[in-house]
């Protein structure tokens, strides 16, 4: 196992940031921690990267205990925190050189690993890090986290606030890094990114709701899911929420994802009901639940 977490708990004063968390990440796996702000993702990252000590439980990373062997872990892992934490007043190249030197290596030695990412920011290598765009900062931070060829890479919300194009490119980069025998633990609040991971843990309020492959997690959804559409989204949501048989009503893009309390449920009766509420152009069709649906069901 590349990462093993056993019954980890952590509290800050009255806040239980993590409650009895356990999971394992296999070597070479791309494992996603999926959950909103405040779920405990960053606390977990800080414990696994030896920056914080848990109140209870044990964990190992790359075979090393996070408390007893913390020095070995620091040499074996790369960590990209959620907040940009490079030296703003150093240039791109100086930052990278600095991190390489700290870890007793050189840019040249591991250039192959970062090449694909670094070439995109190389034209700006003399620019101060503080003057880079968000996307470029993110790429530089990833290079700095990789420059000592870590066995395990920790990425804390690398794509938060990043546009869909850059997010897609970032995930394509992660997939290629995975091919280079690096285990990756990545956190994200974007549920659509969950599907790109080998396995995921859904996490909320310091607790893991479920761990599995994205495909399996979706299969566990307990209800039949319907896409409902009408001419007026606001009226549609209000009307569905007021419907006596509704189990869940969530807007989902151009549709509302609807589930019903009844097991044998006739869509025509719902259609008639919506018509009495003054809605027109109503369509109701079955659809597949997504990871986001599953998360909302588990978090209910």
């Amino acid at each position: 196992m590349s990462i093993s977490v056993q019954h980890i708990s952590k509290s800050y004063k009255n806040v239980k940031a993590l409650q009895n968390i356990s999971f394992e990440v296999k070597e070479g796996e791309l494992f996603g921690l999926i959950g909103p702000d405040g779920a405990g993702k960053t606390t977990l990252f800080r414990i696994l990267t030896t920056l914080l000590i848990a109140n209870e439980g044990t964990a190992t990373v790359a075979g090393f205990n996070v408390v007893l062997d913390y020095k070995n872990i620091r040499n074996s892992v790369g960590y990209m925190p959620g907040k940009f934490s490079l030296y703003q007043d150093l240039t791109v190249e100086e930052n990278l050189n600095f991190f390489a030197t700290i870890f007793g290596t050189t840019i040249a030695e591991n250039y192959d690993l970062i090449k694909e990412i670094y070439v995109q920011i190389e034209p700006f290598k003399d620019r101060r890090a503080g003057k880079l765009s968000g996307g470029m900062k993110q790429k530089l931070a990833l290079c700095c986290a990789l420059i000592h060829k870590p066995k395990v890479l920790f990425l804390d919300e690398p794509t938060t606030g990043v546009d869909p194009v850059s997010r897609k490119e970032f995930w394509e980069m992660l997939k290629r890094l995975q091919q280079k025998d690096i285990t990756i633990l990545v956190s994200t609040p974007y549920m659509d990114e969950a599907e790109l991971c080998d396995r995921i843990a859904l996490i909320q309020n310091g607790e893991i709701l479920e761990i599995d492959t994205p495909a399996e997690i979706v299969k566990h959804y307990p209800k039949k899911m319907y896409n409902v559409r009408g001419d007026n989204m606001y009226k549609l949501i209000e009307s569905l929420k007021a419907y006596e048989h509704q189990y869940s009503v969530y807007p989902f893009g151009e549709f509302v994802h609807y589930t019903d309390h009844r097991t044998d449920f006739d869509t025509e009766s719902l259609k008639d009901y919506l018509k009495t509420k003054g809605l027109t152009d109503i369509t109701i069709a079955t659809t597949q639940p997504t990871i986001e649906d599953t998360f909302m069901e588990l978090a209910k």
Binding site: G38, P189, M191, G253, F295
Partner: protein
């Protein structure tokens, strides 16, 4: 200007030295419309939005917001719009009530009006139990909902939301959108930026900026047809990747 057009923009341009951040954009937004303003990081969205809310002078072009000219009546614009972003929201060291009172005062509402609005807002969002808590102690989702409601205290014709839902859980994100729908239903125009492409689908119309220009504009349905895409995410990727 017709009463139904809350934003009218024609050839609006902003240059920084030789760099054209916003390149002659033209569009209109109607009363009660939810208008999605999308684009990649660095496409010029923030610069355009700053001009529309009266805090950055355009280099050229024309724009009217809530009936006021961005060149000559910027102060009136600031008084007649609502604005909310992740970065500028509420004061953590004030309670929920104090924040409402403070922003009500900033917007020039009378004490009586502030009291009325404050009570209504607390009731509507179900804030009774937390009204006297410091905002800093609340979950992000609550802060966002309160921040949005505060931006509507002075009944602006239009509210600008800059990535309002970043980082919150999917249920809270949807509750937030229900507030948006409600505001729009009651006649407030909503101008919103987001990186969540499913949220783009919730908008009545969407514009997508690429390198300073509006490269696509229409209802989500029309844009999906135009770009032969299954969803708004595909539309965005096709456009922004060129």
């Amino acid at each position: 200007m017709s009463d139904n057009k809350v934003i009218q923009v024609e050839g609006l341009t902003k240059m920084f030295g030789d760099f054209t951040a916003v390149n002659a954009i033209t569009f209109e937004v109607e009363k009660g419309e939810i208008f999605g303003f999308l684009g990649a990081n660095g496409a010029g969205k923030t610069t355009a939005m700053k001009m529309l809310i009266g805090i950055s002078n355009p280099t050229s072009g024309k724009a009217k917001v809530a009936g006021f000219d961005v060149f000559t009546e910027a102060e009136n614009i600031k008084r007649n719009i609502g604005y909310m972003s992740q970065k500028f929201a509420l004061y953590d060291d004030l309670t929920v009530k104090e924040n409402i009172t403070f922003f009500g005062g900033i917007y020039g509402l009378s004490r009586k009006k502030i009291k009325e609005k404050s009570d209504a807002l607390i009731k509507e969002l179900g804030l009774d139990e937390i009204a006297n808590q410091l905002v800093g102690s609340l979950p992000l989702g609550w802060k966002q909902k309160i921040s949005f409601s505060v931006s509507l205290l002075h009944d602006p014709k239009i509210v600008f939301l800059d990535e309002p839902t970043g980082g919150v859980d999917p249920i809270t994100r949807r509750q937030f959108w229900e507030l948006i729908y409600k505001a729009a239903h009651l006649g407030t125009t909503v101008f919103v930026t987001t990186h969540y492409m499913d949220e783009a689908e919730y908008c009545d119309r969407v514009s997508i900026m690429v390198n300073g220009k509006i490269e696509a504009l229409g209802t989500p349905k029309k844009l999906k047809e135009q770009f032969n895409a299954a969803n708004m995410n595909d539309v965005f990727l096709k456009l922004a990747r060129g």
